[in-house]
């Protein structure tokens, strides 16, 4: 069954890596719904957040291909239930309408919109939330002369992740231990063989 998956990729900060990751999707003709790059909780480690609509099997294979890239430290994938996520949207509306139409002011408040800039000619509001929430406000504002709209890529926090600090220590060791070398997709058995 296809559904929304959020892929979180921890990487080195390297020119060209964005392309290397993007072509893993485009080569298979998979559309990237949203892609965000940002710093992570660890200095020098970069974090990609990618949203696609696919089956779990495909997503798992994609993650393995991503992890195979030399500068990728780790890739995780999660369903929407497993993450806390937000997208940020900006709306530009004529100031006179907001000033005059009491209804609009109420609507904006109901949607948790905050004014970012107020000018004589227009006002910019921001809303952070899930896709449906930011989508809804577009519909609401359209009749009142919405001038411009933009939405950011998704950012997501994995609910049961302990962050990347410890993992990175493992990776830095010349002989990465079991924890680092463990693959998220093969964790049904944990014992590690030493000879």
């Amino acid at each position: 069954m296809k559904q929304e998956y959020t892929i979180t990729v921890y990487t080195e900060n390297q020119v060209g890596l964005l392309n290397r990751i993007a072509i893993i999707f485009t080569r298979r003709k998979i559309n990237i719904d949203s892609l965000n790059t940002s710093p992570s909780e660890v200095e020098s480690v970069h974090r990609f957040t990618i949203v696609i609509n696919e089956t779990e099997e495909v997503v798992r294979k994609l993650c393995r291909q991503i992890e195979k890239q030399v500068e990728v430290l780790k890739a995780y994938y999660n369903t929407n239930e497993e993450i806390v996520w937000q997208e940020l949207a900006l709306y530009k509306v004529p100031t006179e309408i907001i000033a005059e139409e009491v209804k609009v002011e109420r609507l904006l408040r109901e949607h948790g919109a905050k004014a970012v800039v107020i000018r004589k000619d227009y006002t910019v509001f921001e809303v952070a939330g899930h896709r449906e929430e930011t989508d809804n406000l577009i519909k609401v504002l359209e009749p009142y002369g919405l001038i411009e709209f933009v939405r950011s890529a998704r950012v997501a926090i994995i609910k049961d992740s302990a962050g990347f600090h410890l993992k990175l220590k493992e990776f830095e060791a010349a002989d990465p231990g079991e924890d680092a070398a463990e693959n998220e997709f093969l964790n049904r058995q944990e014992e590690v063989f030493t000879m």
């Binding site: 990487t11 080195e12 020119v15 060209g16 392309n19 290397r20 072509i23 080569r27 798992r60 294979k61 393995r64 291909q65 992890e67 195979k68 030399v70 500068e71 990728v72 430290l73 990175l168 990776f171 830095e172 010349a174 990465p176 079991e178 680092a180 070398a181 463990e182 693959n183 093969l186 058995q189 014992e191 590690v192 063989f193 030493t194 000879m195």
Partner: protein
């Protein structure tokens, strides 16, 4: 020369010296024990070539005739030597000419380091003369690539390049160096080999439970079947592999790239898998109860229709690349890791056995294939020669000792089917990409990689015309390559498909050839053409005995087909014998 030696000594003493980026490149090659470089100069790589001028005697640079030739040669070199093949090319067209070879090396996991010149850093993105975005063009076809714009990066980047190219699952790496970085002088503090990159894990950790589970499955199996690929060769695990199958009494079949990892005449070697593979291994894939895949990636040319592939079997997959596990065929037990390490662990745990009756099944199929296909190929009634009888005669003379390099097409499949091998790293072919034009340059490289061995390049009349300019490289540098052109006056493999699947509509497969012997002569290479069976053996002997390279053209039947064949989209058990 003296100054160079002095300089190198200084480096060894770890003294800081002021050198150019170009010299740093060459020092890196020396430190990585590179002896041979295949390349072609041009504007953006001139500083490196200028520095190379002083390295005569330390680095053997082979000037090819086209950059595609350089990279195929480097691939051939890597395949026979087991070391990294090295290529130099200039920016723009020089670099784009490498793309086919990079793609070939990527899909066939061949360790290659390609160094390309690039325009000055300040010109990047200005559509400067001979500027192409080499990094982005080559990203999908390299294991790693990197653009150097500052000379101080060169030692560490090249160390990384060599480490990545050869470790784990090997592959091609491209380093693009802007001209200013090649010219820039900097304080060189010596070269340190790379042994660890924190974001890169070449070898997954081996899990004991999986090894144990795999051993248990093998011990319980009534009809175990091993299929092996190039992983055995790349992992230098030929001995470990043999010990494994011998202890378990396990019949083993090979993919085209796994060929020569196990000697042809080994009693447990049951033949070739896949589209033009042998009858038994294909049919019995769908009958075995435990399928043990070692260092192979279930290519579609091996599996045929996936939803009808080995569905009855439990699958054990040994691979160093975790991305291969479950990619095409769902595994029951994944044994990931370097097979040089995992195979001995498995061998220790499996019981000593002989599956005599099961092995007999393979032999029965072999018998049938010999009667219905192979005998006709080896001893045809027609006056026209077959490709198979040429290979058979060649076997008699080389006794399986030669390195066989093949191009792509019918002759490739026939050579893989019938050539005999007694040593590993002896079959060099473009398996994954199927690159026509591969064989001649790859054979040149193969000869430099294995200078003491006889190298025979088996090539079609079509493929030879794709890279025959490399005869010039042979002429100039003397690589002793025996070229065996199997001329059927057709683009044979495409013609075969048109015959079988497009109602004999022979659309543009009728290819004219020049007089190959005369062409060879133009390059100072001795040659001969034969079209009569009675001349064949003597001609082959003459080719092999000749001191130096030699071109032998053998005229073969125009419309012969390669059988057996698993038609595309069919299951391996639907293999056709005619």
């Amino acid at each position: 020369m003296e100054t160079l030696e002095l300089e190198m000594k200084k480096t060894a003493e770890n003294k800081v010296e002021n050198i150019s980026g170009s010299e740093a490149v060459l020092k890196a090659l020396i430190e990585e024990s590179v002896t041979t470089v295949f390349g072609y100069p041009g504007g953006a790589i001139m500083p490196i070539y200028d520095a190379l001028f002083d390295y005569d005697g330390h680095l053997n640079h082979i000037l090819v005739r086209h950059e595609q030739g350089a990279i195929h040669a480097a691939q051939g070199y890597a395949r026979t030597s087991g070391d990294v093949g090295v290529v130099f090319a200039t920016s723009g067209p020089g670099a784009t000419n490498l793309v086919t070879g990079l793609a070939d090396a990527q899909i066939d996991s061949t360790p290659v380091v390609a160094i390309t010149g690039q325009v000055f850093a300040h010109l990047l993105g200005t559509d400067a003369f001979q500027e192409t975005d080499v990094i982005n063009i080559t990203t999908p076809v390299t294991k790693w690539n990197y653009q150097v714009t500052d000379a101080t990066e060169i030692p560490a980047v090249l160390a990384k390049a060599f480490y990545i190219a050869k470790s784990g699952r090997p592959g091609p790496v491209l380093i693009d160096i802007t001209k200013n970085a090649q010219l820039q002088k900097f304080d060189y503090k010596g070269y340190e080999k790379c042994t660890h990159i924190r974001s890169y894990r070449p070898k997954p950790i081996i899990r004991k439970t999986f090894v144990e589970e795999a051993a248990k499955l093998i011990n319980e199996a009534k009809k175990p079947f091993v299929i092996f690929g190039q992983g055995v060769i790349l992992g230098r695990a030929e001995q470990e592999f043999k010990a494994f199958i011998e202890k378990g009494g396990l019949p083993a079949a090979w993919t085209v790239l796994g060929l020569s990892a196990l000697e042809t005449d080994h009693p447990l070697n049951v033949g070739m898998l896949g589209m033009h593979g042998n009858y038994g291994p294909n049919v019995l894939t769908n009958e075995c109860d435990v399928l043990i895949a070692v260092g192979m990636r279930f290519d579609d040319r091996v599996t045929g229709r996936l939803d009808k592939y080995a569905k009855q079997a439990k699958v054990i997959h040994l691979d160093i690349d975790p991305a291969e596990i479950d990619k095409n065929v769902k595994t029951t037990v994944p044994v990931w890791g370097d097979c040089k390490e995992t195979l001995p662990m498995l061998t220790a745990l499996i019981e000593e056995k002989q599956h005599t009756d099961w092995l007999k099944r393979f032999n029965q199929y072999t018998k049938e294939e010999v009667e219905l296909v192979i005998n006709k190929e080896m001893h045809p009634d027609a006056a026209e020669m077959t490709m198979a009888e040429v290979i058979d005669s060649l076997n008699e003379l080389t006794r399986g000792e030669a390195v066989i390099v093949t191009d792509v097409g019918q002759h490739q499949m026939i050579a893989c089917r019938y050539a005999k091998f007694v040593r590993s790293k002896s079959n060099v072919t473009s398996g994954g990409l199927g690159t026509m034009g591969f064989a001649l340059p790859a054979a040149i490289g193969a000869k430099y990689g294995a200078p003491d061995r006889t190298v025979v390049a088996i090539i079609g009349d079509g493929g030879f015309q794709m890279t025959l300019q490399e005869l010039g490289t042979i002429m100039q540098f003397g690589a002793e390559v025996k070229m065996l052109i199997l001329n059927n006056n057709f683009l044979g493999m495409v013609r075969q498909w048109q015959e079988l699947f497009h109602s004999r509509r022979y659309s543009f497969v009728d290819i004219q050839s020049p007089d190959f012997v005369t062409i060879a002569k133009g390059y100072g290479i001795t040659g001969r053409s034969v079209n009569a069976r009675k001349e064949l053996k003597a001609a082959l002997k003459e080719m092999l005995d000749h001191k130096g390279s030699y071109l032998l053209e053998v005229m073969v039947g125009k419309e012969n087909n390669v059988f057996p064949m698993v038609p595309q989209g069919c299951s391996v058990s639907e293999i056709r014998l005619k």
